[in-house]
C-alpha cells in the first residue's frame, strides 16, 4: 500500500480557513492528507503544538495565515513569521527534516492556491517518507499499553 502522509494544518480562521472553504465550495480537487485545526489567528500557533504534532505521528505540519499586512488582528501573522522559520531550523536538531514544516500565506479568496499548496506539500512529504522518531515508538507503545488496560 502506498504511503499516505499524515499532515496537520493549522489554519487561521479569517483567511486561510475561509480560503480552504472556498476551495471546497468551488469543488477544487486537492489531496485529502491535510488534517485541519482551526485557530483564530496564525499567531495563536504555539511552536509546542507543532512539536506535539510531530511527536504524535504527523509526517508534516503546515501553518497557514493571512498575507502580511492583511491579518484580521493587524499583526498576528508577523509573530508567526518570527516563530515558524526559527522552528524550522530548530527541528533539524531533533532529526526532523525542515521541509516537513511549512509556512504559507493563503487569503480568503485564494481557494485554488490552497489546493495547490496542499497538493505540493503532500507530494513533498510523500517523497520524504514517513517520519521515524525514536520518541514515536515509545509513545505509541505506551499508548497501546494504556488502551489495552
Amino acid at each position: 500500500m502506498a504511503f499516505e502522509p499524515k499532515i496537520v494544518g493549522f489554519l487561521c480562521n479569517w483567511c486561510s480557513y475561509t480560503g480552504a472553504d472556498l476551495a471546497g465550495v468551488s469543488r477544487i480537487k486537492s489531496a485529502p492528507n491535510v488534517r485541519i485545526i482551526r485557530t483564530m489567528c496564525s499567531g495563536r500557533v504555539d511552536p509546542t503544538f507543532i512539536l506535539k504534532a510531530f511527536q504524535l505521528g504527523a509526517d508534516g505540519v503546515i501553518v497557514m495565515g493571512c498575507h502580511l499586512g492583511d491579518c484580521h488582528y493587524q499583526d498576528g501573522n508577523f509573530k508567526t513569521i518570527r516563530r515558524i522559520p526559527f522552528l524550522k531550523r530548530l527541528i533539524q536538531g531533533f532529526g526532523i527534516d525542515s521541509r516537513r514544516l511549512r509556512l504559507e500565506w493563503v487569503s480568503a479568496s485564494e481557494g485554488d492556491r490552497f489546493a495547490k499548496v496542499v497538493n505540493e506539500m503532500t507530494e513533498e512529504i510523500r517523497g520524504l517518507g514517513p517520519l521515524q522518531l525514536y520518541v514515536h515508538k515509545v509513545a505509541l507503545n505506551a499508548g497501546q499499553h494504556e488502551m489495552a488496560e
Binding site: 499524515k6 496537520v8 479569517w14 483567511c15 475561509t18 472556498l22 488534517r35 485545526i37 485557530t39 483564530m40 489567528c41 499567531g43 495563536r44 500557533v45 504555539d46 511552536p47 509546542t48 503544538f49 506535539k52 504534532a53 504524535l56 505521528g57 504527523a58 499586512g69 492583511d70 484580521h72 488582528y73 493587524q74 499583526d75 498576528g76 509573530k79 516563530r83 487569503s107 480568503a108 479568496s109 485564494e110 481557494g111 499508548g143
Partner: protein, 586 residues
C-alpha cells in the same frame, strides 16, 4: 472720474482707463490684433491706433495702452486712421495671406491687395502672427516663463528655450487657448495609462464635477491648476463677481468616532485601452460605455445628440458586449449590467437617429423585472443582434461613399459565418471592476476581497452586506457589479442592520477571549507588547498581567507567547488544541 470725447460721443470713465476700454464703454469699435482680455495690453500690432487731440496737438497713439486724460478728444475713424489701418493690414496680409483672422480683419477694414511683398511670406493657415499673446500669458499670467521671443526685426519669432521641449512647461494649454491662428496645439502624446475621462471635451482645472452634481458648484483640481504650480493666473478669482473663490482653502482632517462603517466605494470602469483590438483611444468614434452615457445626456458635450466627432450623424452604430468581462485574459466574471444598458443604448440611438444598430453579444442577460420584455421590444424595433463576440474594430471606408469610418469584424455563430460590419460609431460595454485603491480600503477596515477583486461578504447567500469584521458593512458595487435596484436594496439592508445595532444600545461580542490565570503569571510582561489592541495591562500591585475583556478580540497571539502557560484562550486553550491533535493523529 474724467470725461472724454470719442468720435463725438461723451463718455465718463475712471482716470487712467485706456482709450480702448473707454471706447468700449462708449460703444465705439476699435480693431485690435494683439490684444487679449487675459493679459496686460501689449501694443505691438498698432492696429488699435487712434488720433488724440489735445488742445492744438494731434497725435497717433495705440488706444490699448494709452491712458485717458480729462478733456481728451479721440478720433477713431479719421482719414489718417483709416489709411493707417489699411496699411497695417496690407503689411500683415502680405506676410500671412492665408491666416483667417488676418484676412477677416483686412476685409473688414477695407484693405485691398497688398502693395508689399514680404521676404518672410508664410502661406500656412495657422502661421504665427507674432501677436505675443502666448508669450504674455505664459510669462505674466501663468508665470511659467516658458515661451519667449527670439531674434529681432523680420527674424523675430516665438521660441522655447534652446528650441527644445521645456521641463518648465506645465502643459496648462493657456498658449494654445489664446493663440488666434491655431499655431499652438495641444496634442495627447500617449494614450496608454491615461485614465478614461467620462466627460468628453475640454476640461479646465476649474470645473463642475459631473453633469448632475449636487451642489452644482465648481471645484478646482489642484494638480492641474496653474495657480498651484506657479503661483500665477487666478483668472477665475478675478472674474468671479461674488468673490467665491478662495485659493487658500485647505483640506480639513476631522476625527469622528463611529461604531460602525458602511463601505460603498463603488467601482472603476475597465480601461478598454487594454484591449488594443477594439481601437479605444486609437480610433475616432470608439466610446466606452460611460462616455456614451455622457453623450446621450442632455447636459453632455453634444446636448444629447448622437453625433460623430465631425458633427455628422452616424449611419450605423455597433455596440460590443463583454469588454473586459467573461474574458480569461482580463476578468472571468460577468459584469451583470452591460446587456441591459447596451439594450438601452440601442433603444435611445434608434429613437434619436436613423442609424442601423448592431449588437455583438455572447449571451443576452435580461434577468430582472421587465428586462426580458424590454429585450423583446427591442427585437421588434429592428436592432440587429449578432451572437458572437466582436474580434476587432478596424478602419474601413464605406463603399461608394468613400468617407472614412469603422468596420467591426466578428463571427456570427448563429449563421456560422465570419462577418465584417461597416459602422460609423462603436460603443463598448466596459466591465465593472474593483476600484484601483481597494487594497488600501481593505487594509483600513480589515475586510477581505473575493477572487474577482470586490469586497468579500460574510456569506454570499445569507449575509451579503456584512463582512467578517464586526461593524463593517459593504453595499453596492463595492461588493460586486450590480444595477440600481439591487444597489438600493442592498444599501437599505445594510443601513437597517446598522440601525438595529445602534438601537439595541449594546453589542453582543464573541466569547473567544484571552484570560490570565494569575497564579501562573510570572509578570514577565511579554504579552503586554504583543497585543495589537493594547488589551493587556500590567497590574503592578499584584505583579501580574491582566486582560481587558472589552478590548480583547481573541486572536491568541499572547496565549502562544506566554512562557508560563498562564495565558489561556477561551475556546482555543492549549488543552483544547492538543485534544484536537490527539483526535487527528492517534
Amino acid at each position: 472720474m474724467v470725461t472724454i470725447n470719442i468720435d463725438g460721443k461723451s463718455v465718463e470713465v475712471v482716470e487712467d482707463t485706456t482709450i480702448l476700454k473707454a471706447a468700449e464703454k462708449a460703444g465705439v469699435w476699435i480693431p485690435t490684433m494683439c490684444h487679449s482680455e487675459y493679459c496686460e495690453p501689449y501694443g505691438v500690432c498698432r492696429l488699435c491706433s487712434v488720433e488724440v487731440v489735445r488742445g492744438k496737438r494731434s497725435r497717433i497713439v495705440t488706444s490699448c495702452n494709452f491712458p485717458v486724460r480729462g478733456g481728451m478728444t479721440v478720433h477713431t475713424n479719421s482719414e489718417k486712421i483709416r489709411w493707417l489701418r489699411k496699411t497695417i493690414m496690407e503689411l500683415m496680409v502680405s506676410r500671412w495671406p492665408n491666416v483667417k483672422v488676418v484676412r477677416d480683419m483686412a476685409e473688414r477694414l477695407g484693405a485691398g491687395k497688398p502693395r508689399f511683398v514680404s521676404l518672410e511670406r508664410d502661406e500656412a493657415e495657422n502661421a504665427c502672427i507674432l501677436c505675443g499673446t502666448c508669450v504674455n500669458m505664459c510669462n505674466d499670467v501663468v508665470k511659467a516663463g516658458v515661451l519667449g521671443f527670439a531674434h529681432t526685426g523680420i527674424q523675430r519669432k516665438v521660441v522655447l528655450p534652446f528650441d527644445e521641449r521645456s521641463d518648465q512647461c506645465i502643459v496648462c494649454g493657456a498658449c494654445a487657448h489664446v493663440c488666434p491662428t491655431g499655431h499652438i496645439r495641444m496634442i495627447l502624446e500617449d494614450y496608454r495609462g491615461k485614465k478614461a475621462e467620462f466627460t468628453l471635451g475640454p476640461k479646465t482645472p476649474i470645473y463642475v464635477p459631473t453633469l448632475q452634481a449636487v451642489p452644482r458648484v465648481p471645484v478646482i483640481d489642484t494638480a492641474s491648476c496653474i495657480h498651484f504650480q506657479t503661483g500665477g493666473c487666478e483668472t477665475c478669482a478675478n472674474v468671479c463677481e461674488p468673490n467665491a473663490i478662495n485659493f487658500k482653502m485647505e483640506d480639513e482632517f476631522v476625527d469622528i468616532e463611529v461604531g460602525q462603517v458602511l463601505v460603498t466605494t463603488g467601482f472603476d470602469l475597465f480601461d478598454a485601452g487594454k484591449m488594443a483590438q477594439y481601437g479605444y483611444g486609437r480610433l475616432d468614434n470608439v466610446y466606452s460605455s460611460l462616455e456614451f452615457e455622457s453623450i446621450l445626456n442632455s447636459t453632455g458635450p453634444t446636448g444629447g445628440k448622437v453625433v460623430l466627432k465631425n458633427g455628422k450623424e452616424p449611419r450605423a452604430v455597433g455596440i460590443i458586449h463583454c469588454i473586459g468581462s467573461r474574458d480569461v485574459n482580463h476578468h472571468p466574471y460577468c459584469s451583470r449590467v452591460c446587456c441591459m444598458y447596451a439594450l438601452k443604448f440601442a433603444h435611445l440611438v434608434r429613437d434619436r437617429t436613423d442609424a442601423a444598430i448592431y449588437q455583438f453579444y455572447i449571451d443576452m442577460r435580461a434577468f430582472g423585472k421587465g428586462y426580458e420584455e424590454f429585450y423583446n421590444r427591442l427585437l421588434d424595433e429592428g436592432i440587429t443582434m449578432i451572437r458572437g463576440k466582436a474580434a476587432e474594430v478596424v478602419e474601413g471606408a464605406w463603399s461608394g461613399n468613400g468617407e472614412p469610418s469603422l468596420k467591426i469584424r466578428c463571427e456570427d455563430t448563429l449563421i456560422g459565418k465570419f462577418r465584417e460590419i461597416p459602422v460609423d460609431m462603436v460603443v463598448l460595454c466596459n466591465a465593472m471592476e474593483a476600484r484601483e485603491d481597494s487594497d488600501v480600503v481593505k487594509r483600513l477596515f480589515s475586510v477581505s476581497k473575493s477572487p474577482d477583486g470586490f469586497f468579500l461578504e460574510r456569506h454570499p447567500k445569507l449575509d451579503p452586506t456584512s463582512t467578517s469584521t464586526d461593524g463593517v458593512f459593504i453595499a453596492g458595487c463595492a461588493q460586486g457589479p450590480k444595477d440600481i435596484p439591487d444597489t438600493v436594496a442592498q444599501a437599505s439592508s445594510a443601513a437597517a442592520r446598522i440601525l438595529s445595532l445602534i438601537s439595541k444600545g449594546e453589542v453582543e461580542i464573541e466569547p473567544i477571549r484571552a484570560m490570565v490565570q494569575e497564579e501562573y503569571c510570572s509578570g514577565c510582561k511579554i504579552c503586554n507588547g504583543l497585543c495589537p489592541y493594547g488589551a493587556i495591562e500590567f497590574v503592578t500591585e499584584k505583579n501580574v498581567s491582566h486582560v481587558n475583556e472589552a478590548l480583547c478580540k481573541g486572536c491568541g497571539t499572547c496565549v502562544a507567547a506566554c512562557p508560563s502557560s498562564a495565558m489561556t484562550g477561551h475556546g482555543f486553550s492549549d488543552a483544547q488544541i492538543l485534544a484536537e491533535l490527539n483526535g487527528l493523529l492517534v
